[in-house]
């Protein structure tokens, strides 16, 4: 029953990430929630890799890729937040509702 616990933990972490993603007012915190979600995914990958594919461990390779891509993505995300901050002097997500209907 090891895999299920692992997966449940990952799901819980993902859900926490979702909750943070859609409720945070701080844009940096949104990025942090995204990181939580990515890490939940990584937990999944590691779990599957260990329990279902112990010889090939393709999941671990996947995880490495996800970590690197997530790092790059977080960097770009922070850059975007900085660009917005320079223009609008705030990183409150509720102030960014200019592109509506």
């Amino acid at each position: 029953m090891q895999l299920e616990y692992c997966l449940l933990l990952a799901a819980a972490l993902f859900c926490i990430g979702i909750y943070g993603l859609i409720t945070s007012r701080n844009a940096v915190r949104v990025l942090m929630s995204i990181e939580l979600m990515l890490n939940a995914v990584n937990l999944n990958l590691m779990g599957f890799s260990n329990f279902l594919d112990p010889t090939g461990i393709k999941g671990q390779v996947f995880t490495v890729f996800v970590i690197t891509v997530a790092a790059a993505e977080a960097a770009v995300g922070l850059a975007i937040i900085l660009a917005i901050y320079r223009n609008r002097n705030t990183i409150d997500m509720e102030q960014f509702n200019l592109l509506k209907w």
């Binding site: 859609i22 949104v30 997500m93 509702n97 200019l98 592109l99 509506k100 209907w101």
Partner: protein, 620 residues
């Protein structure tokens, strides 16, 4: 070779049609320089040619057997419509009457329409009427009779509406068209229903069919009632009689035609259909009932009128009612003879009245008086016309009315009573008009009243001569009974009713001691007849009201319900677009939520079978 005229008798309607076309160029908008008179001359010439042709054909066909001609008109699938003509002394005699009266009316109009610019329109419509009526009497097919009746209905509309800048003319023309149209449409139902039953529209074959057929009496009754409805409207019978009263707004020469022969077109169809009516005793009873009610009612109304033209027009309805009675009692020959003698007499009356109206302007009988010494020709023509119209021996209608009463005496004695009453009332009415116009002292409107020009007087005197010769002609044609065969039991009451009616009328209206205008007690009765039994109001509160209400309801239904449903679809689309756009909230996190919910939903739907198995495991 000696039958050239009777074999080409179908040219007679074409002469008139050619005249109608040739008149059009003199409309004020086309030939602007010369004035409209040539159109009248051309039409009078064409009518004269038609009359000569008819007369020559009549002399050829006299004592000859009846001949039939047939042209193919339409052949489609198994429907074969042929244009049948019948050439018999009766039809050609009717042609002579029609073209003769038309010639009289057209020459009369040359005088009457002197101060009018609308000759082209007027004469082409008169010619259209002549063509239509000639076609009607020649054609031997119910279908084409119907076609011609409809064309004549349209012609009536246009002819009454000649002076369309007068508002009463417009309403009169409207009523004439719609009222006659209603009758014609019901007639169309019968015409259409007759083809599957009889397999033919030919009158001769219809008569054959009616002798042998064994159709359901109810169907026969409905069929015959619908067949009556067309002539009912055409002949201005109750309750479709108001149009004739309002049609008196049209020009006088057209009135000559309408009062004498146009109303007879319906009667002609009725007479032709008489064999079919024998199928249904109910229809005959209805016909007799309508005829009697109209005859008595209209003669009473005629007495209460103060407009000369209208007073005569109700007498027209009354005499058409007598024709209905004659057809209802299977006397089609008598009905034809009555139409002939009646048309001569009535044309004479209208021509005389027209000349009087032209020079005195007013049509109000109460403003007339004392014209006898200065208008002797009009007066004598009126007297001869009046004497020919009622049972006054030895003139025209005496013989036909006596013949009719004689035929009725053994079968429907009470109808003889109707005949006597109508005769007496008509005698009263026309004597009243004569006394008011020609008798008494001149009034303001009639102080100076010259006799009309030759064009008015010539047709009038010709008509008078013809009316005086009618008994001789009837004698020549062996249509008169011998003196010893005359049924005195009916002839004497008729003559007495004439004398009593005329005498009483003359006594009342020529007597200076009785104050004019006559006040009848109670006044309500006088008004009741003077206002034509309040028929206009009756139409307004019944049929016009119902049709108006229904059309308003349908309009409302269409405008709000039918349109509304479609508009609702559009509105709903607009509204949903307007409200759904708020989903684009501008909040990135809202989009994330939408994505997340969408994925959950998708996964839920895809995984539903598995989850339901789970629940089965969890809640066994």
């Amino acid at each position: 070779m000696n039958e050239i005229f009777s074999q080409t008798i179908w040219l007679v309607p074409l002469y008139a049609l050619v005249g109608a076309m040739l008149a059009i160029p003199w409309s004020p908008g086309i030939i602007r320089q010369t004035g409209p008179r040539p159109s009248g001359y051309i039409n009078a010439l064409m009518t004269f040619i038609a009359l000569s042709h008819s007369l020559l054909a009549l002399s050829e066909i006299w004592h000859q057997p009846v001949q039939y001609l047939s042209f193919q008109w339409l052949h489609a699938a198994d429907l074969n419509i042929s244009f049948d003509l019948v050439i018999s002394p009766i039809t050609i005699g009717a042609l002579v009457l029609i073209t003769g009266l038309n010639l009289a009316a057209q020459i009369y109009a040359i005088g009457y329409m002197e101060m009018d610019w609308g000759w082209a329109r007027f004469y082409s419509l008169l010619a259209l009427f002549e063509a239509g009526m000639s076609t009607l009497v020649l054609c031997n097919s119910l279908f084409f009779s119907y076609v011609v009746l409809e064309i004549l209905t349209l012609g009536t509309y246009l002819l009454i509406g000649l002076w369309f800048n007068q508002s009463l003319v417009v309403t009169g023309a409207r009523d004439a068209f719609l009222t006659k149209r209603v009758g014609d449409l019901i007639l169309l139902m019968a015409v259409v229903a007759l083809l599957p039953l009889a397999g033919t529209w030919n009158y001769t074959e219809l008569a054959q069919w009616a002798k042998t057929t064994t159709i359901d009496p109810n169907i026969a009754t409905l069929l015959c009632l619908a067949l009556i409805a067309g002539p009912l409207g055409k002949c201005a019978q109750f309750p479709l009689h108001l149009w004739l009263d309002e049609a008196m707004e049209g020009p006088m020469p057209a009135t000559i035609l309408r009062n004498t022969i146009v109303v007879s077109t319906g009667a002609w169809v009725l007479i032709k259909l008489q064999p079919v009516f024998t199928l249904s005793p109910v229809a005959s009873t209805v016909m007799i009932g309508i005829g009697s009610v109209t005859a008595i009612g209209a003669s009473l109304i005629a007495i209460a009128q103060i407009d000369i033209k209208r007073s005569l027009s109700y007498s027209v309805s009354a005499y058409m009612g007598l024709v209905f009675i004659a057809v209802g009692t299977q006397q089609d020959e008598t009905a034809l003879r009555l139409l002939f003698t009646y048309a001569i007499a009535m044309s004479l009356l209208v021509m005389s009245i027209g000349g009087v109206v032209l020079n005195n302007i007013t049509q109000d009988l109460t403003k007339y008086g004392g014209l006898w010494s200065r208008r002797p020709i009009s007066g004598i023509c009126y007297l001869v016309g009046a004497a020919s119209l009622v049972a006054f021996p030895p003139l025209g209608c005496f013989w036909t009315l006596t013949e009719m009463a004689d035929n009725l005496w053994n079968t429907h004695p009470w109808l003889v009573g109707v005949l006597v009453i109508v005769n007496g009332l008509t005698a009263f009415s026309i004597t009243r008009e004569f006394s008011l116009i020609f008798g008494g002292k001149p009034k303001q409107m009639t102080v100076r009243s010259p006799e009309g020009l030759w064009a008015l007087v010539l047709p009038m005197t010709f008509g008078m001569g013809f009316a005086l010769h009618v008994p001789i002609l009837l004698h020549q044609w062996n249509l008169l009974p011998e003196w010893e065969n005359l049924n005195l039991t009916v002839a004497i009451p008729l003559v007495i009713s004439t004398l009593v009616g005329a005498g009483a009328s003359a006594f009342i209206y020529l007597n200076e001691k009785i104050t004019k205008p006559i006040e009848f007690k109670p006044k309500a009765v006088q008004d009741f007849f003077a206002y034509d039994l309040y028929t206009a109001q009756l139409y307004r509160v019944t049929i016009v009201f119902v049709v108006g209400l229904v059309s308003q309801i349908i309009y409302w239904f269409d405008r709000y319900l039918v349109d509304g449903v479609i508009n609702l679809v559009g509105l709903a689309t607009i509204f949903s677009g307007e409200s759904l756009k708020y989903n684009v909230s501008g909040q990135t996190q809202f989009y994330f939520l939408s994505i997340f919910l969408g994925v959950i939903l998708f996964v839920g739907v895809v995984c539903f079978p598995i989850i339901s198995q789970f629940s089965f495991v969890l809640f066994p």
